[in-house]
Assembly symmetry: C2
Homo-oligomer: 223 residues x 2
Amino acid sequence: MRPAVVLFSGGLDSSTCLAIAKEEGFAPHALAVRYGQRHVHELTAAGRVAAAMGAPLKIVDLDLRAIGGSALTGELPVPKDAPIGPGIPVTYVPARNTVLLALALAYAEVLGAQDLYIGVNAIDYSGYPDCRPAFVGAFEALANLATAAAVEGRARYTVHAPLLQLSKAEIIRRGAGLGVPYALTHSCYDPDPEGRACGRCDSCRLRRQGFADAGVPDPTRYA
Amino acid sequence: MRPAVVLFSGGLDSSTCLAIAKEEGFAPHALAVRYGQRHVHELTAAGRVAAAMGAPLKIVDLDLRAIGGSALTGELPVPKDAPIGPGIPVTYVPARNTVLLALALAYAEVLGAQDLYIGVNAIDYSGYPDCRPAFVGAFEALANLATAAAVEGRARYTVHAPLLQLSKAEIIRRGAGLGVPYALTHSCYDPDPEGRACGRCDSCRLRRQGFADAGVPDPTRYA
């Protein structure tokens, strides 16, 4: 099976993305980045989900706190119970998906993979600019100019974003059908010390509503 | 003065690039990445050159050794006295400039800067795919899709690569005219424990030949 690099956080979307990469015939290599998240539960979840799904997991350290500018790296409080409206939320991490895809590309080149998977989604959460189709296409164009493998004709990179046009409920139905172990995944931006979800941040509310809309029992442990 | 982010290693090219950004009317913010270089001398040089040139320096940690695939992150020996020919050298770091520009973009967004400087050069060292004009243009296109600042109309990013079409001798003449403290810069891939240049790696040989061709005295400390 051909290898593919799957950007992976141990959350609902990237875990579903990994299952889709397997279904599409790839041997997925999960890549997680310890970028200064507020809590360790995200990477703990990444480890247990990747293990349960039989994918090797690589974790790269990158201290994005040095750059700052986001609630997810700790300078700003995570909003609770706030309306999810238009506009870019404070949980936006400047240029995060550009950074993550760049690291995925580096890893793909070393592995000899030509396929990158990223679980971005433009429907339920259109507030992040780097979750849009035009962004994904521009990165694919860049990848095919940026690497030795592409320039020497050994690789033609494809950036797969299979969740791009799916609602959260559609993602959950798709993943449930593929056996994604959602009970092991973690989505909350601000869990309690035991790793239980707050239920009130944007990520929790989108996830909870997604399970309800999908008609799939929600296995999340809430605080 | 408008801020600009200058990718900075303390080497000859990026130090010249910083001087050009100042000359072009920007307040340069140097950004260096501790990415698992074989030696600490590069970042030591970055600190002393940025201080001498009056620019703030931000250092971000990113462990590219976890990804591997390059002589510059330690898995392969640095070639000495080897012909500099066509083809991509083992000192190529997979997707490095994509990763570095992504971090520069993140920092620019946080600073409110719209201008990125990178000291890539397509003439003397065409072996690196991510040192070519098409790559720089593709990243600029990506930057303008990737960030909240661009999408909300607060920024229109420009990637400046002022050394792209210059020979090493032309870079040195330009920098000497701008007062770049070349005696403080470091270029060697494999210095001795005191930080003195080996004189034999590709980077040393291009640098030494550049000073000779420019007719500028070479202040480098060789081992």
